[in-house]
Amino acid sequence: MIRIINLILFTIVINSTAQANDLIVGGLSSKNISINTTFSGSDIFIFGSIKRNNNKEIIPSDIIIEVLGPKTNLTVRKKKKMFGIWVNSDPYKIIDSPSFYSLIYTDEPENILSDTQLAKTLIGKEQFFRSKNLQEGYFDAVNANIRIKSKDGSYLFNNDPITLKGETLFSARVSLPANLTEGDYETKIHLVQNNRIVTSYIDFIKVRKIGVEKWLYNTAHEEPLFYGIFSIFLALFFGWGASTLFRRFQK
């Protein structure tokens, strides 16, 4: 517990609307994630407390935490049966889809936020359906994206609920999967009172490839010709080296 407290990076978000409102103080167990060759996912702990500035009464509060990975454009394809076999058809383009999304809450956003707040903040699955794409079957494709990414751990919908202690202290866990996209992961902690978000604490988790992993990936995409030639010599070296070693070992 002392370790966790030590790890807390106290940041006070100044609320612009009123001075006497409650605030949120939050922290992350780690702000940097390094993807190396043995990376197999990582757990991030998010914690903090509600700073009560309103001394007259304790307003019932809820917490919603969102973690959003870098946005990418996707092509979603549906398989159809043609000549007896299953073949890809109908591509759908999804623009700016988060590569990772985690939503954790003390209560369902639909229960604790007003409809206007939900429409404005796009918390939860709402944000995936904001596109005005009218292509037939587009929303099925968006649903398929949510389904597939939920299965592989890229989209998490309240898998590990928030624990709220004494109406003030809270902590939550986000399990980042192995197949992370490089970039800044926006972490938002929302304080909900009286059906609206009164304040939000925002921080970023930096996800970076490092070492061999980074070098191979960058070279393959930035210097593909060099990378191709390099791969051949690397393969020759390892093939030749391993068989030489093996023969010597047998003698």
């Binding site: 990376f39 890809n88 389904r147 393959a220 010709l225 390099f230 393969a235 390892f238 093939g239």
Partner: protein, 305 residues
Amino acid sequence: MQVYLPIAEVSVNIFLLIGLGTLVGILSGMFGVGGGFLMTPLLFFIGIPPAVAVATEANQIVASSFSGVLAHFKRRAVDLKMGIVLLIGGLLGASVGVYVFKILKEIGQVELLVTLCYVVFLGIIGSLMFFESLSAITKQNRPQKNIKIKRHTWVHRLPLKMRFRTSNLYISAIPPFVIGIVVGVLAAIMGVGGGFIMVPAMIYIIGMPTKVVIGTSLFQIIFVTAFTTIMHATQNYSVDALLAILLILGGVFGAQIGVRLGVKLKAEQLRILLSMIVLCVCFKLVFDLLITPDEYYSIMVDIQK
């Protein structure tokens, strides 16, 4: 222990990859085949994206053919002139193959193309080998008929004749050139060396003496697969060097075991075993095409420039 493959962008157990390399290495050592045609589908089965599996396998074949080529050069069992004609065709074929691959990748049909190619080739070769070795086993006691290779076929009426001293042949350059093209296309699309097509074609169509066939085909394979690796790296960014190294390490180890195991088994038994493995992989691919998928949708992240 999980290893994160930088280009395939999947996390796979390192021992599974080395084990797979070893398994295919054992088979290739036992049967004297390249093993690319088994490794690529096995990589699909463990979840490596097909585009990465094909390109990386081409890279692995460069390494696995290298020591073979050197050994054959030492024994002067390489027809360099024939090899170069086959190679020119191979480079042309590989260029076309990678181009087709790139287009189909963009429209999301590359997986289908690769799978269908595998079903066709594994199906034909597996069943031919199976029935041939089955009849060889049942007719073991009867005297074998000598198969006569026709010395004068349509091949000898083609123009552009060249002299190939090492093979002791004076034939048209067109058949080896065309064979080279076919093998090049297969290397680019299927991630195979193509020895299983090229070797019979060199013996039965070109009429080359068997002692130079393996060396000459390996000579062509090493350059065509190296070229294919570079083409895939520059066009599709799909060569995973780390994956290739792990497969090579397993492969080298497996090949040594395979050679020792192979000596203990009879040729017909070996062939019938190999044909059964080939047919199993083929049936699995067909099965995956036919059964109703659990998930109708697939997602691809667009490459951002």
